[in-house]
């Protein structure tokens, strides 16, 4: 990777045109929309709202299905940066099939979505049990050659157990965190705003949760960690690096600072390093573990 900023799954990454635009905006790598075996329409609107300190969404994993997605992947001719295929499934077998397809489509790595908080029988529903995380990660690892990243949810009692399970299952990296389960009720009409009622909270409000999770995971596992959750500035990224992340993902940040947030954050990281006399990123990673 030329820089440590990665587009998080679910944002401007359902079609090749959008992905190309994000590449042109300076992202170091792309994670695709989470793709399943079958096409899924997602939930009716409202699916995404902005609250005081972040965004709340329950899109419902909309995606064209893995077979249709081959076209989007093939349209990304010579993407110049790694394209990481995100997939969701209900069991190890589905994850294997999806992983094999993504490998066939030339994905550089695979991200296992074991953490979406708002889709019945997927995501967090298979990703809150360390045994299941281990089973899914290890079976996918056996089936494909490209690196496998396991994306974890903060909506659990002990994220460290899950990270250890992913490491034991052979994951090449941990991605932490997915969104935080939350709800917004409209008090005028007395009902939840999102059609799915419950959604996942992202953006600035969840950064301290993400930083804590990355920090705890870094204390307990040896594989690299990709930090995600509420990063909108270079300084936010630095904080994640200090917690132990070797790269970071950006999602909601696009809303706050527009599509060129990738370039902006890279410039801010460089400036921060210059101001603080760091010449390589690797010297910052994990420094907060005192």
């Amino acid at each position: 990777m030329e820089n440590p900023t990665i587009l998080a799954s679910g944002i401007m990454d359902e079609d090749s045109g959008s992905i190309q635009r994000i590449i042109d905006c300076g992202a170091g790598a792309i994670v695709t929309k989470s793709i399943g075996l079958q096409a899924r329409e997602g939930y009716p609107n409202p699916t995404l709202i902005e609250l005081d300190y972040g965004m709340l969404n329950a899109m419902g994993l909309p995606n064209p299905g893995i077979n249709n997605y081959s076209q989007e992947m093939s349209e990304l001719r010579d993407p110049k940066i790694p394209i990481i295929g995100s997939v969701y499934g209900a069991n190890p077998d589905e994850f294997i099939q999806l992983g094999q397809k993504m490998e066939e489509y030339d994905a550089s790595a695979l991200e296992l979505n074991l953490s979406c908080p708002h889709a019945k029988s997927y995501g967090l529903e298979v990703g809150c049990d360390p045994k299941m995380i281990h089973r899914i990660t290890s079976s996918v690892k056996e089936a494909i050659k490209i690196p496998v990243f396991t994306k974890l949810s903060p909506n659990v009692t002990n994220i460290v157990e899950n990270a250890k399970a992913a490491e034991k299952g052979g994951a090449d990296a941990i991605v932490a965190i997915n969104t935080v389960k939350a709800m917004k009720i409209d008090v005028e009409i007395g009902r939840p705003v999102l059609s799915n009622k419950i959604g996942g909270y992202s953006g600035k409000a969840i950064k301290p949760i993400g930083v804590r999770c990355v920090y705890e995971i870094a204390e307990n596992v040896g594989i690299p960690i990709i930090g995600v959750g509420g990063i909108t500035t270079g300084e936010d990224a630095i904080e994640y690096f200090m917690a132990g992340a070797s790269a970071i993902q950006i999602g909601s940040g696009i809303y706050y600072r527009d599509l060129d947030i990738f370039k902006k954050i890279c410039t801010e990281i460089e400036q921060w390093m210059k101001d603080h006399n760091y010449n390589t990123l690797s010297k910052i990673i994990g420094v907060a573990h005192i």
């Binding site: 635009r21 929309k33 096409a39 699916t47 899109m59 299905g65 909601s252």
Partner: protein
């Protein structure tokens, strides 16, 4: 915060067969061509372009076509809906003689732009193209406000018999038009773009919109152009480079659907 605000419907008025205008109090300044997300609690939230602007009173005009529009159609004054926005860019109303072409319900969102052009004292011609006269609306409103209005119907039940684009071709030949602003079926708009070689062109596009604030990617066309943020109005130069314009749209799962 980008979240629906609950407001009461002031009036729900029938414009033509299965077509209604709903007005409400919504003070946010809105440019012709911008849209709101209209939340019908318990049903859906859908994008709707502004069709009526009078101070803090705004309105939307729509045809009953699906679950959400049917539910909205059945609401009465004092019923509550949620509104957020306005979103998108809106039209750039400039020219010496503008031709407006509204196909189907497209005239709904062009009407405020036409009225603004009248306020700017710009010469204009407005074509309203519908299948038959039962679907015709806003003809009287626009005439009353001083617009030169021409009507086309596919079946010849009123005005010029044929497509709006057919009449537009004729007008472009006969008049010294320097700008075309359009909204309607995408194939019609693509045909118009082909007619506008040296004429400034703006078209308002429609796609399935989910987040409405430019992050989910659902409404993207071409190289990641977001209908909800970069549009819904695009100029001719941009559209000439959008390979999906007039060819396909994407359904709510992101699958390509040909027009």
């Amino acid at each position: 915060m980008n979240i629906p605000r609950i407001t009461k419907i002031i009036e729900s008025k029938t414009e033509a067969e299965n077509i209604k205008t709903v007005t409400f109090n919504y003070p946010q300044e809105t440019i012709p061509g911008q849209f709101y997300m209209i939340w019908i609690p318990g049903v859906d939230e859908i994008p709707m372009s502004v069709s009526f602007i009078k101070g803090s009173r705004k309105g939307i005009t729509f045809k009953k076509v699906g679950e959400a529009t049917s539910a909205l159609y059945n609401l009465k004054s004092d019923d509550r809906i949620g509104i957020r926005g306005p979103y998108g860019n809106g039209f750039n109303i400039k020219g010496k003689h503008i031709l407006f072409v509204g196909g189907g319900t497209g005239i709904a969102m062009l009407a405020p732009a036409i009225e603004q052009a009248i306020n700017y004292k710009i010469k204009l011609t407005a074509i309203i193209g519908v299948k038959n006269k039962k679907e015709l609306f806003f003809e009287e409103r626009l005439r009353k406000n001083g617009a030169d209005v021409k009507v086309t119907t596919d079946d010849g039940s009123k005005g010029f018999k044929g497509f709006a684009s057919d009449l537009a071709k004729k007008v472009l030949k006969e008049e010294n038009i320097d700008a075309v602003l359009t909204c309607g079926p995408e194939l019609m708009m693509k045909t118009l773009l082909d007619y506008c070689k040296d004429i400034s062109f703006q078209a308002s596009l429609e796609r399935y919109i989910k987040c409405s604030i430019g992050i989910c990617g659902q409404c993207c066309i071409g190289k990641g152009l977001r209908i909800c943020m970069d549009g819904p109005v695009f100029d001719g130069k941009t559209l000439k480079n959008v390979e999906d314009f007039g060819i396909y749209r994407r359904d709510s799962a992101g699958r390509k659907v040909p027009f």
